[in-house]
Amino acid sequence: MFLAVSPHAAPPRTRQRRPAARAGRRCAWLWILVAAAALPGRAGSSGPPVMRAALANGIRLLVSEQRAVPMVIVDVAIEAGSRLDPPGKEGLANLTADLLTEGTSKRSAREIRETVDFLGASLSSAGGVDYSSVRLTVLRKDLETGLDLLADVLRHPSFPAQEVERRRDAILAGMKADEDNPGAVASKAFLRALFAGEPYGHPAEGWPESVRKLRRADVRDFYRQWYVPARAIVTVVGDVDAQEAQLSVERYLGAWEGLAPPAPSYPQVAEPPAATVVIDKPVSQANIVLGHRGVERSNPDFYGLSVMNYILGGGGFSSRLLNSIRTEAGLAYSVASFFTVNRDPGSFQVVMQTKNATARAAIERARAEIERIRNELVSEEEIAEARQYLTGSFPLRLDTNAEIAGFLSQVEFYGLGEDYADQYARRIQAVTREEVRRVAQKYLHPDRLVLVVVGNSAETGIRP
């Protein structure tokens, strides 16, 4: 997913809607933008109210009382993401997360689904890059039943052989279906080109050749090694009393045992030089990804980069890339830039689509904007707008229980601090025009850009 600061897992492929049922939104970028600015701070003071507790077995618990709607979300972030996939077994973390809800020592896959659906609830698990997530959404009255189920899938998954086979085949088929999505093809090719040989060098679901080889024993071993309470953050948001919620979580997850293994270090390979990857596909648009390596979440320049990227390509109709490529030239519907920010350095990307014939022109415009923001100071007006948006839109990004849960889990996972919401606003406000230029020069590298173009090569005229 194109989330700039949010390493959220992709949503599970369970609910599909009729693809053409609703079309014609003015633009999809807005939601990228919303996500891109995740983890912001409230302009005035304080994020959502939260109670923190550490359980005896090492679980970190966060509870936020939100009493307006009779529902509860329980979000479990387990530090067992795809970065832990052993080489050659890419996709193992995701398959493991995927299989949690497909059978436990006392419930079959169908029993789990039947129980969840009868409550009108949802219980999903998905593999992410740094961590995997299990999320329960349930009516208040069904919280205990839901927690019982959630604890069961976390603590006692049985990974039945036939379910392993089913999910593996489904993931493989999903990858095949993804090949009909040129944007997904471009995104994967970019990852492979940029991070080959590193833990971030593959999509969480893995590659077809690695997933095909995954066996039940791999899944079981991965689970045993990494699914321990000390690697879990449990976030409860909704119509609950914080103390009662803590007691409930202790009741269902307090007896969960397991020792945390030492986390492996992150092997880094040298950044590749500038390169062009061309994938020929009979489509009407060139799907373009242009970028290079980026930064880690703990980088102190995160705030300067947030402001810089808003002006460059994160700020929708306030951004330079959109103005140049869409508004002025009419070349693309969607164009945006973002940094993927994880525990270790992620990537910087410009993503856009334009008809094959104008691919070169659009790429030139993108390169020109990257150069310009490195060379010239941004205007007073631009920086003021960026600061106002990033700090002012904070409440909008925390106006649902689901968003609050995701926010709290991330703040905890990345160790951003209890006063993060306040810190964020202060730091964004402190970013100057000079600071924007400094971070642009330090973190944007026109000489190292990796360009991926998925399109009709005869029409784009772009060669590797």
């Binding site: 999809a28 709607v69 959404t137 085949d169 090719a189 492979r192 009979p282 648009q285 009709n456």
Partner: protein, 457 residues
């Protein structure tokens, strides 16, 4: 992939009902109709210090005609290109400068503009919306590039997306007389040939106060906010209502089959039946029927096709009763590699036949109703979505119908479900669309530098 509007709007598939525990919407909403015919609907919800403003125009692709499809959506784009008072794209910049988000979307029945802001800044959007309801400037110099942008949007959404292309074809086949036959975004030819004058006419005909309504929701005082809205919108002149859409789809008499052959990795099948929409009394049983077939992974289509028979990667049913005119009830499935589409179709139709032959068990019926009810409660977590629901019901006739929805769902019996399955999900009433993949001509890397680690597929 790209975060779609859909994903943010929660699950539109879930129908609607009155607030769980807290009485119905009628108790939480205030409305006022101004002298110029514009109606304002305000929902107070104080759970967060934010507000959403939505301006709904009763115009969508159903108000278009052959050769001029996509005008509603094109006009939606041009609505951001400036007024007598504000320059192009100023609207979005002003909202963002105030820490807000904004966007718009077009459906078959309506065009909606929305902004989300801290509640104490919501009036910024009010003034901007009132301004562009009356004072749009359709600058010819800006029209050309924006038309190109919409063409790119169509390439992105439809042309390069095999399943979307399939469903365009299914719609075009299932409807013969009604405007729901063409895509909301319009056919490519029509987009490229649209003129500025077409949009001027569309704006003049449909963007008048009496053909629009405003929905606001959030941390506001409803009475005071209605005053704010009346001050901003009330002075716009009253204008004549546009002509009604007269089209009516005649009953289908015989199965229609359509095949789309193009490069694709996997086949796809959609089966669409003509059905009524809300407030027709059969719409609630049809919602429950959709939930029995597709409400979660224990539902029949997933359980049979994806789980037990291992025929499909995905399978489900789609029905949105909130449609102005009769709509389609659609079954869909993506076969797994190596599985025959015909076998998948047979398995889908077997599930339909079962629903016609046997009553669903009480527990299964209850499960389907529970799922719909819970979705409704979860929807209240989002201000935006609550505003959407009010707006959708108002488009159908009256936002108060939102409170009739849940009781109707709860009243559905097993016999109702069997009856609507037998009445509507029949061969003569269906259109079957199949995406038949052609082997790729390309799909290989033109060449991959060895240093990049081999094929990039």
């Amino acid at each position: 992939m790209r975060v779609q509007w859909i994903a943010v709007g929660l699950l539109l598939a879930g129908p609607v009902r009155a607030a769980a525990g807290g009485g119905g919407y009628a108790e939480r909403v205030q409305e006022r109709t101004f002298a110029n015919g514009l109606k304002a609907i305000v929902l107070e919800d104080h759970k967060a210090p934010v507000g959403v403003l939505q301006v709904w125009y009763r115009v969508g692709s159903r108000n278009e005609s052959p050769g001029r499809t996509g005008l509603s959506h094109l006009l939606e784009h041009m609505m951001f290109k400036g007024t007598k008072k504000y320059g192009p794209e100023e609207y979005s910049r002003i909202i963002q400068r105030n820490g807000g988000n904004n966007n718009a979307f077009t459906s078959q029945d309506a065009t909606t503009y929305f902004a989300m802001l801290a509640s104490d800044r919501l009036r910024v959007a009010v003034d901007l919306e009132a301004d562009r309801m009356g004072n749009l400037v359709l600058d010819p110099a800006l029209f050309g590039p924006e038309r190109d942008v919409v063409a790119e949007e169509r390439r992105l959404r439809s042309e390069d997306n095999p399943t979307a292309a399939l469903f365009e074809l299914v719609d075009a086949t299932a409807y013969t007389a009604h405007p729901y036959q063409w895509p909301i975004i319009g056919w490519m030819n029509d987009i490229q040939k649209a003129t500025r004058d077409d949009l001027e006419e569309h704006y003049r005909n449909y963007y008048s106060p009496a053909n629009a309504f405003v929905v606001a929701a959030g941390d506001v005082d409803a009475g005071a906010f209605l005053d704010t809205l009346e001050r901003a919108f009330g002075s716009l002149p009253r204008r004549a209502l546009p002509p009604e859409v007269r089209s009516e789809e005649p009953p289908q008499q015989g199965e229609r089959r359509v095949v789309l052959r193009r490069e694709a990795e996997l086949p796809y099948i959609g089966i669409a039946y003509h059905v009524p929409s809300f407030p027709h009394p059969d719409s609630a049983p049809l919602e429950v029927l959709a939930s029995v077939l597709s409400g979660g992974k224990s539902a029949r289509l997933y359980d049979a096709l994806v789980y037990r028979k291992r025929l499909a990667l995905a399978a489900g049913a789609w029905y949105d009763s909130k449609s102005k005119d009769p709509t389609l009830f659609t079954l869909y499935a993506q076969p797994l590699p190596g599985k025959k589409v015909a076998d998948v179709e047979t398995a889908m139709l077997a599930e339909v036949a079962r629903l016609q032959d046997e009553h669903v068990e009480p527990r299964e019926l209850q499960k389907a109703q529970n799922g719909i009810e819970a979705q409704f409660v979860f929807a209240q977590d989002s201000l935006f979505y609550q505003g959407m629901l009010l707006g959708q019901f108002e488009v159908l006739g009256d936002w108060r119908w939102i409170d009739r929805y849940l009781p109707a769902i709860r009243a559905v019996t097993a016999e109702d479900v069997r009856r609507v399955a037998s009445q509507y999900l029949i061969a003569d009433n269906r259109t079957v669309g199949i995406l038949e993949p052609l082997p790729s001509r390309a799909g290989r890397p033109a060449s991959a530098p060895a240093s990049l680690g081999g094929p990039v597929h």
